[in-house]
Amino acid sequence: MAIREKLSGNEAVAVAMKQIEPDVVAAFPITPSTEVPQYFSQFVANGQVDTEFVAVESEHSAMSACIGSQAAGGRTMTATSSNGMALMWEMLYIASSLRLPIVMALVNRALSGPINIHNDHSDSMGARDSGWIQLYSETNQEAYDNFIQAVRIGEHTDVLLPVMVCYDGFITSHAVENIEILEDGEVKDFVGEYEPLHYLLDRERAISLGALDLPSIYFEHKRGQAQAMINAKQVILDVAAEYERLTGRRYGLFEEYMLSDAEVAVVVLNSTAGTTKAVVDKLRSRGIKAGLLKPRVFRPFPYDEIREALGHVKGIAVLDKAEGFSGAGGPLFTEVGSALQGIANVEMTSYIYGLGGRDVTVDHIESVFMDLKDRLADGKGNKITYLGIHE
């Protein structure tokens, strides 16, 4: 039975964490993710969960403790943002190479410097090559749903990779929305017991983890890790299908909004997709064939499926809430571009928007669609546009 609730994004994720009731949560506070361990430690204090909460002295130790815990055989979770995840950087790669399905709430915040506590995606985009599965969430509901599915995705034996569930700092983390949550028992049944194949506390067999790999084997281990990420795509879809049967809410690799007949489309992650939907509705009412593609899964990147979904669109604007400093457009732009390589007559353009929490309004998004239309008409336009910047 679905329960209707009014929850902030952080609260929704903390509630998901409570319902999953992992063995260990190890976390260090950083704005705007702080509320997640705060809510959770209150659940521990109230005896609502019997999870071991480890209040570590840094994010580096948070991820190190998560690695120790998950390797020991405990289901383990954490939450962080921005510089907190940057401090974990070294350990992110080690968590994925040890094939430990840790689940992390990554509340997107601009990465210093300059220091800024507001939302953009420079933190998670910087970690895109760390071997973590990345799920993005437009709303509080999606953050909650993704968090529960993340457990099953990461722990699947074809995958065994850590998963970060990304949602926008403040916009999603702090704003309260009406959402539907599951019963505790439904969540417990959905995630099931954690039954690792190999773990440190296995009484039957001692294991060694983190061995030195010489050139004779390192390459093969990385290849295996790459295969796990490739395998993850189908597992994500299978888990989503099962979750849909439970909740009626449908998830895929990405969401298409008015895309099937669109001439111009925006590709954008997280909460700005909501703003974009409003603009698409408005433009459609004026007869403009506008559409949206909102990736949910950024790692593994669904190249073939995105190519299929966008192949017919004439003008595509990819909006990145991270600079990336490639000199050739944002990270989402370059990925979408490589998905579409070889397709003729597509006008693609990169927009960098909202860095450090700069507001993005319906007017901004509308201007993107209008620019796309102009570009299709006269073939002129910037390769990279900084949307809403004060020139």
């Binding site: 480890v54 130790s61 350990m91 001692a206 061995a211």
Partner: protein, 311 residues
Amino acid sequence: MAYRFKDTSKIPERLSGGHRMCAGCGAPVTVRTVLRAIEPEHRAVISSATGCLEVSTCIYPYTSWHDSFIHSAFENAAATISGVEAAYEALKRRGKIDEEVKFIAFGGDGGTYDIGLQSLSGAMERGHKITYVCYDNEAYMNTGIQRSSSTPLYANTTTSPAGQQRFGKVQFKKDLTMIMAAHDIPYVAQSAPYRNMKDLYEKSKKAIYTDGPAFLNVLSPCPRGWRYDTPKLMEIIGLAIDSCVWPLYEVEGGKFRLTHRPKEKVPVREYLKMQGRFSHLFNGENEEHIEEIQKIVDSRWERLLELCEES
């Protein structure tokens, strides 16, 4: 029952031979002695910082460790084992585990005094039931003998070299054992693998069976960095102890206790002259530096005696 090396040496090894640590290295002797203190019927999970010990004992697909072992990175052996211990507590509470498991972390002085100090301090303050063992060889040996905050005054290392103007490391050795004692954890000790291993074995036993965090700082000389002939390992450790450069003591429930008092305090020069890392002090022109070291050793020793209420 009184300690007898003949008996403890028969306890099955938990670190297999055939690893790649150097002959004459103190670290594997330290590790084997510490692990012998675990009751044979108890399991353990070991974590190790990146360093000589880790890269020499766990090279894929081999491992020297009979117990479960995890290495994740350089600066976080304490945080990693604290996560393992947290999972153990949770799984025990949920009835998934019912046996006694001991948790031990090993790190060199690089991973403990320096890059891992924060992680160690955090894990100790949180009160995990873990034993952290620093095998202190007084420099970053794994990367080729660079100075650490544990390197003693005037030791020649590759980043504190003796030259025309300087005489090795210009700073004192950090007193980590005292820093850990200041954490007010149940058990802290300074030891070394020496003679019949009684001191280290007994302290390990106490540490591992203390209900809460424990820290052992164990002098573990390195023949490559200290420049001594490998068979002289025990002799060097003996001189470190008897010159009071490395006093043996423990802090239990806040109470300091000297566990060995040299019958006759050996001049520090006897200890230094056996080691190539101090050879530049013995060229006839740098004698005053040896005196300076002696003064520091004397002053630290006196301070320790006061803490132990000995005189």
